[in-house]
Symmetry: C2
Subunit: 252 residues, 2 copies
């Protein structure tokens, strides 16, 4: 059962007030590191899985993509996206990403921002993405970091005065459902190990281009709680290239 | 200042009683996963950095390596290694790995087991290893996992009854020295993020072949403390191939 948390009124309202929702890409702490991993979009066909408000679709289109398909399970998110973006090369589709079907090799870039930790079966999804991509095609995504998802609560441990002591890691090798609290609401997320994220790519025809745990940017350090983000990794960025037929040695 | 902890009598004595010291490879929880990442050694020239008792040198020689060079900073460790191994294709050299110098492309395989977290400058070392390896050469190593080295104490957090609550992560993005306790003795180790381990390889001419956080083997689960090793990652295994000149696309 695919959860559609973002169509819940309370959750949607809270999400809409986050800095990344109000300010867009520049309001997301990881954006500057993520942007460095993005390919040249000129002339490319781009798929954005879990596109939300469509910020990254707009970015791809503004950087020359000739076709951008943004998909999301949430009707409410896509309604905002459609309002923000009226470029004719950008299309939005309401669909759980697990249910998408495309012809082989119909995209040059597949992108996803902070959505795969809502997906139960990462392996099947990556297999599909591998089919949808052209040889040499780029796959770039962000997810919540395994350190952040392992224990489940996604909460710091505090001392009796409310000061942060450390971040707890537990159940690391037990992958699967976690009942996390996000924006004060219960949300089901899926924990996976770093091994699973990386090996799933390497064993399904991808070469790894980059693995980055983004640090908070210097000029955001004064925002509430941002300094504490130096104490544990919260996000993981991965960039990979679909192995081209002429270069099978790369992935041996 | 390179620390030579293993030549300290007390430390050496305690280390010699660990299951990995008594039983060799089969006594190391990560061995079965590590073995899967090793290349075909037949006819290869192999360098083992921080070889300790030489178990992996012996393995490489027994699996067909034509030359194996084991290096370690510790005289005591190498004395044991020399006694265990009297194969003519295996040589042991006492030297801190940071001080080693070799001709370019003189090894086909570079290996290291649980030694790089004692090295301050990982980047310079990987650059050297890249030069020493032939194109297409293999680089396989294990280190303590960034989750395990981040906070510093390498200790679980316990409740008042002495039961494990979780493992603490802290100071994650602050790389560098940690005053860890290993076998009840103080040891200086160096914490690095997962990003640093992987990106150092990818930006210095390597293609990543595997990233594995080894789980405790099923049949070791009854050993004291082994079940708890399912709760946090303690080790990290990485395997990479030096990019060959004819395949420059791999690492773009």
């Amino acid at each position: 059962m695919k959860e559609n948390r973002y169509d819940d009124d309370v959750f949607f309202d809270k999400y809409s007030r986050m800095s990344r929702s109000v300010q867009g890409l520049s309001g997301a702490g990881e954006w500057r590191e993520l942007e460095k991993l993005l390919p040249d979009f000129r002339g490319k066909r781009v798929l954005d899985l879990g596109c939300g408000y469509g910020w990254h679709c707009i970015y791809a289109a503004e950087h020359g993509a000739r076709l951008v398909e943004g998909t999301d399970i949430s009707h409410k998110m896509l309604a905002v996206a459609a309002e923000k973006c009226r470029m004719e090369q950008v299309h939005f589709i309401q669909c759980a990403m697990e249910d998408l079907e495309y012809e082989p090799e119909c995209f040059d870039v597949v992108f996803s921002s902070l959505a795969f930790h809502y997906v139960a079966d990462f392996g099947s999804l990556v297999e599909k993405i591998g089919r949808w991509l052209t040889p040499g095609g780029k796959f770039v995504f962000s997810v919540e970091h395994p350190v952040f998802t392992a224990e489940g609560s996604q909460e710091w441990i505090y001392d009796k005065d409310g000061k942060i002591l450390y971040f707890p890691v537990d159940h690391y090798y037990y992958e699967g459902k976690r009942d996390a609290v996000f924006l004060g609401e219960h949300v089901v997320k899926y924990h996976r190990t770093m091994t699973t994220y990386v090996q799933t790519l390497l064993t399904r025809g991808f070469v790894l281009d980059a693995l980055v745990e983004p640090q908070p940017p210097e000029d955001m350090m004064d925002l509430p709680g941002m300094k504490d983000e130096m104490r544990r990794p919260m996000m993981l960025l991965l960039a990979a290239t679909k192995t081209s037929a002429g270069c099978g040695d790369c992935n041996s």
